[in-house]
Amino acid sequence: MFEKSLVDLIRGMRGHKGREAEYIQSAIKECRTEIRSQDMDVKATALLKLIYLEMFGYDMTWAAFNILEVMSAAKHMQKRVGYLAAVQTFRPDTEVLMLAENLLKKDLTSPSIPTLSLPLITLPHLVTSSLALSILPDLLPRLTHSQPAVRKKTITTLYRLALVYPETLIVAWPKIKDRLLDENEDSSVTAATVNVVCELGWRRPRDFLPLAPRLFELLIEGGNNWMAIKIIKLFAVLTPLEPRLVKKLVRPLTNLIQSTTAMSLLYECVSGIIQGGILDGADAGVNVEEVADLCISKLRGMILLEGDPNLKYVALLAFNKIVTTHPALVAMQQDVILRCLDDPDVSIRLQALELATGMVSSDNLQSVVDRLMKQLANAPPEKSTFLNGSVEDQDNTDLEQKLVPDKRGSEASPLPNEYRHEIISKILDMCAADTYANITDFEWYIETLVKLIRQLPGKTNDTLTGRHDRTLNLPARIGSQLLDVTVRVKELRPEAVRAAERLATMSSRGMYFASHGYGQAEILEVAAWLCGEYAVHLSSPYEVINSLVHDQTKDFASSTIGTIVQAIPKVFASITKSANQEWNASRKGTLELMLGRITSFLDTLSAHPNLEVQERSVEFLELLKLGSEALSAATIDAPEAPLLLIHALPALFEGSDLNPVSSAAQKKVPIPEDLDLDTPLNPNLDTILRSSQLIDEEEGDDEQTTAFNKFYFEREITALASIRPTTRSQYVEADNDEAVSYQGIPDSPQTQARKKAERAARNRDDPFYIPGGAHTPSDEIASVIGKQAGDLDVDSIPIVDLNIDPSQLQHGQSTEKPKKKPKRKFMIAADETLDPTSDQLSSSFSDTRAPRSLTRNLSNTAPSSSVPATGNRRNFLSVDSSNLGAFSLSDQEQSGTLQLDIERRLAEEAEMAAALKEVERKRLELARQEEEARTHVAEGVDEEGIVVKRKKKRSKKPAGDETTEQSLVDTLKKKKKKKVKKSEGGDPVQDSQPDFTEQ
């Protein structure tokens, strides 16, 4: 039979252009037979082909056993194929792995260097803790192998062993350290060792302080830039722990900065100075000014250096690290940084944008934002066809082209939506920071917001980018800013409302919204609300009404329609009021016409599928029908319009102004003392439950069935009722623990406290009073709650409005208000709350950026709700990025435990120290002892299984014979191990962490 070689396969794939998948399937089928061949050559070739196909995404995990066979081939070149396949496809959970153990051990002792290297470079990809345990004795002696190539690979392999089996370090660390300290060691082994030390170093820096002198020496005398970079990076982690290092490092680092020709080293020196906190080292006797100047000037030089975008990028990266601690230093470099905002490279722009956000002040905010706005306005929106271009490119590629750095010309790319999104959200961040601390000209800001609407990117696939919950959608953010500014900055209201009017008016919408129309609903919702709430400022209310009742409105989301429905009567009320001043027949006619339009609009909505919209429409419809009856009943020569229209209707919407209320305000409403949540509503609950159970058992009897039914219903009710108090009281308790402010308030004068309590009790009937403070009715309520902060005067509540409350309440509370309220919290003045001194205020800003619904949840359900939220998000992402995430997770776990275990470790330290001395001489024996000691410690912790199995295995290992039983133990152990990994703390492996500190 004739088999294809790899070359044949590759050529075949070329030859079947367009039908590759078919060809590959048949090739895989062939490989399946070939790989079972007795001829090792055929087997290895088949495997090589499979590896090749695996790179195209064709699974080959089914060949795991065959991989093992090839790995054990006698010829090196075949063996190499097997090992390569193992690297590509084996995972720590691959089942055949335990069969590989002996093979790996055997190859580790091979006299041939290439063969010996194979297991060394393969192990890191598949090592498990049990494999590590068994392979360690064979691996350790390789540290003293005569060939440096073997030594350096062994060192890194040991490091990877340690990641899954930390005990490795107990025996391996002294030897690794020897390699580092040995001045006669081969330079590349030293470099590799330094790399490993650094990897370990940023996991637990404290343990590496004793090595500082040697590292310092290597840094100065090493003459190896790669190594120096690593050492500097490690020192940046060490300096915070050992301030004396700062003084020692400054000189050599500044020398390096001035003398080196290697940009990477220069950059790392600067970044080491920044990250190591040397710029804060004034008390350590460092001339901070001088060092800072040097660093900044070097970074500035890197940005200015034309033609190397990489340097520009990393310099911005470094600036970004400085900006958090030394914003002033960075702001001095404004000119160059701002120029980077216009760089053709998006990566650089993003960095510059990040940096700009960090360094804006009231002086430069406008110029920075204007610059960004210009960029948005000038760039064409993203074309979704850019991928086609790259495909064409590929067709023209010449595979035999020599690999030389690519020199294709640059083309100006349109702004990607991602970047557009980023700019807009950064602009909003910058401007809103510290409740608009940096904004001096609010008219400009309103103007900017309106312009931003036009620049909104089209709908981005939020779930794909993972952005969904981090930054809520931009239109909603812009809307909330518009709203927020209008509510907070009173002087600006006329301008802001006129801006909203322009947005809401049909004829000008096309001018202000992007053509794709994404986000229009969110913005319109806000605009409509503003037009309604501040209708007095409208320049042409007639037109606004006509636009709002336009047919197009019905296509929006129900929340937008709901707001619009609410806004219409408000605008109308303001029209009637002004119309009344010169009442005449033509005005009456106009009003009639308008009423007709509105009612027919509301009429169509009264069958809207959304209940909220439906309810509002029906209510206003009925109200306005009354109005229109009154209007038609009025005689032409009446001196003024019907009272219903000019007094009753406006009265619904007038009251005191809305004030921004802190999201924390509700939590501060004191609990009335006489509120007893612990008393069950029905003290006989127990009996009822029990008897109902009894009946459950005796079911069957007719009489009893009826009795049962009766009880059944009773039970339902009482059960519910009794559950509520308990959960509620729990809730309150929990709340009290966290938010002490509850208790903190009653310091106020007694009368005041009593009034508060009374009102709180009254309002308690309607839980929405406070969070949902609504339109008409809640206008007052919101303001009252707001006033509680200062001298509250309950009596200021207009009695008339309170009477209207019950009928209108559901309106206000339901969809529209609760959504908007949180947004309105941000007043240039400050949020109102019961206790303004509370630090909760600061949290309010972050709330703005949360999605509306989230804000609402947060304010309603105690702080704990935010915890599960983040937890979920993480889960979601970790599933998504399982690929690279898995390792870091397990690693995190370890380093986490490392820190947690410090106390326990201290206790064990003495014991360990004694043991470690012996390690030098009797490594194997000691390993056994160690394990035994550890198992004793671990006994009774939680996973007994492990202990037993460990013992068994250990006692067997010296014999060296692997039996089926051994492998059985392995599988069992592997399973256990997985479980243990998840459970925290009780893991015996992690409990006895390596103690290389003391050595």
Binding site: I113, E199, W226, E400, V404, G409, R873, D891
Partner: protein
Amino acid sequence: MQAAIDTATQQTLLRQIFDLVSARPSSACNFLPLPPLLAPAATSSSPDAPTQITYRHYATLYFILISTSTESPLALLDFIQVFVEALDRLFENVCELDLIFGFETLHAVLGEMVVGGVVIETGLEKIVAGVKESEGVKGKRKAVNASSSASLGKSSGFAGLGWATGTGSSWR
């Protein structure tokens, strides 16, 4: 760490990175934003999470490294340069075809430079010597000159990226 990725995820990641990288003009810097698959979990900022993607573009190929923030970005660029130089030495005027047919050698080079995500060697001579030793007397592995292969299908071009990234991701 490559070992944690299954084939399908790896392909997705490749696709995402390729989309990012192919949209960039050559004048752009060699650092990529993270692709969606690697987007950081908002809360965690562990030093073990991959945070930088560094690439270099040579003729028809992209060499891409995914690394943690503990690696120096500029040094990574040099690393790719050394990698390509080593390949160039071994293949003599290396081109994409050499790498397609000789991907074993490519892995061998990488094995000499990175073990378990840690750089062990950046000296060109030592790398080349190490690979030559492991390949024995096989000598120069210049690819067969397949004249019929002048035009290359999209998928093979992508495979070229495939291993470059695949191996790159074994670097942490």
